[in-house]
């Protein structure tokens, strides 16, 4: 039988398809791109990654660090990532603009009393104590129009200052302590673990707890996905949240241990010794819509939004009932 061109092409096509069929059998793992922030709030996910909980659920996670939810949610909107870790303020703002997101998990929160997971710091001896002192000065926030920005403003207002007279500089969390130390900003509202690392090095001193002085039990940040993605991949979302919740459980059981410090030091680029002294935020596996309502009221006070927000509709079922 002669090798005609048609027979050759057919054979080549069949040959090329063989490896594809073989990989099909192995390609069980679902790939997910997740935008994260290198702060203590995402420790649960990082633990789940390090301990292989995602792999156990058949998920391959590819993380993209961002400065904050205000930067991660646009990536979510563009489809560049499937899940984004975002603060509640940015999520509410996106919801108000009908970008079609939903909260799929619990995340970080504050408790009834300090220490919070973030504090307002200045150079030691700067002498800035109240909101009035901060008029004409600058406070470093990771991005503007998010939770750090809002509660910094709320604190300035509460302590007698005009929040509009303060400048809010955008500085990524890992660089905030250096920004204050170098005089680029007068203060920073900085999150763990950088907060404790800065204090331990005596580079900064604590001025106030803007979260706690404004509101108790704030649902600070959670994982968010688009409604379209959730509808098409409900099983994957459940697996993601289950693995994440396992990470949270492990963290609660092993906080303070060397392994725990090692994982957190890894993704925040700090040293394990610096991690040991940090304060841990509350890690709930669900979100209470009442907490969001209070935050929305604060947003309204600061003219960030107008009109009603359906906070219950913002929560997907995996954020309401913990996935086991």
């Amino acid at each position: 039988m002669t090798l005609t061109r048609r027979r050759f092409t057919a054979a080549a096509a069949a040959g090329a398809a063989l490896p594809l069929l073989a990989t099909r059998a192995h390609a069980q793992a679902v790939k997910l791109r997740v935008s994260t922030i290198p702060i203590i709030d995402t420790a649960g996910m990082q633990v789940a990654l390090a301990k292989g909980f995602f792999k156990d659920e058949g998920l391959e996670i590819d993380t993209t660090p961002t400065a904050g939810g205000a930067a991660g949610l646009p990536a979510l909107a563009a489809g560049q990532v499937q899940i984004a870790f975002s603060n509640i303020i940015s999520t509410v703002l996106a919801e108000k603009q009908n970008l079609g997101f939903q909260i799929i998990s619990g995340g970080s929160a504050t408790s009834d009393a300090p220490p919070d997971l973030a504090g307002l710091v200045t150079k030691p001896g700067a002498g800035l104590k109240t909101g009035k002192d901060f008029e004409g000065k600058s406070i470093a926030v990771n991005t503007r129009n998010n939770i750090i920005w809002l509660y910094a403003r709320a604190w300035v207002k509460k302590t007698g200052g005009d929040p509009d007279k303060v400048t809010y500089l955008e500085v990524p969390f890992p660089q905030m302590i250096d920004a204050v130390r170098g005089g680029r900003g007068d203060a920073a509202f900085v999150v763990e673990p950088f907060f404790s690392a800065g204090r331990a090095a005596n580079a900064v001193e604590l001025v106030a707890w803007p979260y706690n002085s404004t509101q108790k039990r704030i649902p600070v940040a959670q994982f968010v996905a688009s409604k379209a993605f959730i509808a098409a991949n409900a099983g994957t979302i459940e697996k993601f949240v289950r693995a994440y919740n396992k990470g949270v459980d492990w963290m609660n059981a092993n906080k303070g241990s060397d392994e725990w410090a090692g994982i957190i030091a890894g993704y925040t680029r700090l040293k394990p010794e610096q991690i040991k002294s940090i304060g841990l935020p509350l890690f709930d596996k669900t979100v209470d819509p009442k907490g969001i309502d209070e935050t929305v009221a604060l947003m309204r006070d600061h003219k960030m939004i107008e009109g009603p927000v359906d906070t219950k509709a913002m929560l997907y079922k995996t954020a309401v009932t913990a996935v086991k």
Partner: protein
């Protein structure tokens, strides 16, 4: 004159039609639901929002802030650049001194200088003025040098014959002769200056058009963001058109010069 205007309009008509056609296509796509309206609002909505911003006067303060930044740095840096360029073009010694430094810094994309500049000057007005000034400086100084070198030596000799001193020759013969070149450099600098002004405002966070565009994105107010972008585009267009008029009046003789 009507004839000239009509001709100008006829030439521009296809281009304007293209823009309108693109806008209509986007509008149709949004109405048909083909694009996510939260990311790409309908052009008519953007126009509406733009109208609201203009009617309420909300555009005034940010526009003033950006223009203040741009013009302060632009005129200061241009004056410096023209001054240095005149000296460099005229006197070999000055040129030998500064040319290597300028050649080293010129190819650097000026936004790349923002990180070191922020370390030195922080995020306030000095940083913004310096970065815009740097962007403006180089095209103007280089064009000024070229312009000075291209001056007809006969003109200079004639001036010397008439007994003019160095300063008069520089200001009354060389500078006007080099003006077309200088203005060409200043036109490029105007565009670069606006770009750097917007970027600097995004970083500094204290107001201006650049700050607002980023702020609207951060708040997911997408329609507002596009409205401010349109304002920025109109500003760029207006600045360029304004510059053309100034150029035509300042260097009109360059068109009349025999080649």
């Amino acid at each position: 004159m009507i004839d000239r205007l009509a001709r100008g309009a006829a030439e521009r008509a296809p281009g304007a039609a293209l823009i309108l056609a693109l806008l209509a296509a986007i509008e149709a796509a949004v109405r048909a639901g083909a694009v996510n309206v939260a990311l790409v609002p309908a052009p008519t909505r953007i126009a509406e929002r733009l109208g609201e911003i203009i009617a309420s006067g909300a555009f005034a303060a940010p526009l003033a802030a950006t223009l203040w930044l741009l013009f302060s740095a632009y005129f200061a840096a241009s004056a410096l650049a023209v001054g240095l360029g005149l000296l460099m073009g005229r006197y070999r010694a000055v040129d030998n001194l500064f040319e290597p430094l300028i050649e080293l810094l010129r190819p650097l994309p000026k936004p790349a200088l923002l990180p070191p500049l922020i370390l030195f000057l922080g995020l306030g007005a000095p940083m913004k003025l310096v970065i815009v000034g740097l962007a403006v400086f180089f095209p103007v100084v280089i064009n000024t040098v070229q312009g000075v070198r291209g001056v007809d030596p006969v003109l200079i000799d004639t001036a010397r014959t008439f007994g003019h001193g160095q300063r008069n020759i520089l200001l009354k013969v060389i500078l006007p002769s080099a003006l077309p070149f200088i203005l060409a450099g200043m036109r490029v600098s105007l565009a670069l200056g606006l770009i750097l002004a917007v970027i600097a405002e995004m970083l500094a966070g204290t107001g201006g058009l650049g700050y607002l565009v980023l702020d609207m994105q951060r708040s997911f107010k997408v329609t507002d963001m596009y409205a401010w972008l349109v304002l920025l585009a109109v500003l760029g267009y207006a600045l360029n058109a304004g510059f053309n008029r100034v150029e035509r009046r300042a260097a009109h003789w360059a068109l009349a010069q025999p080649t």
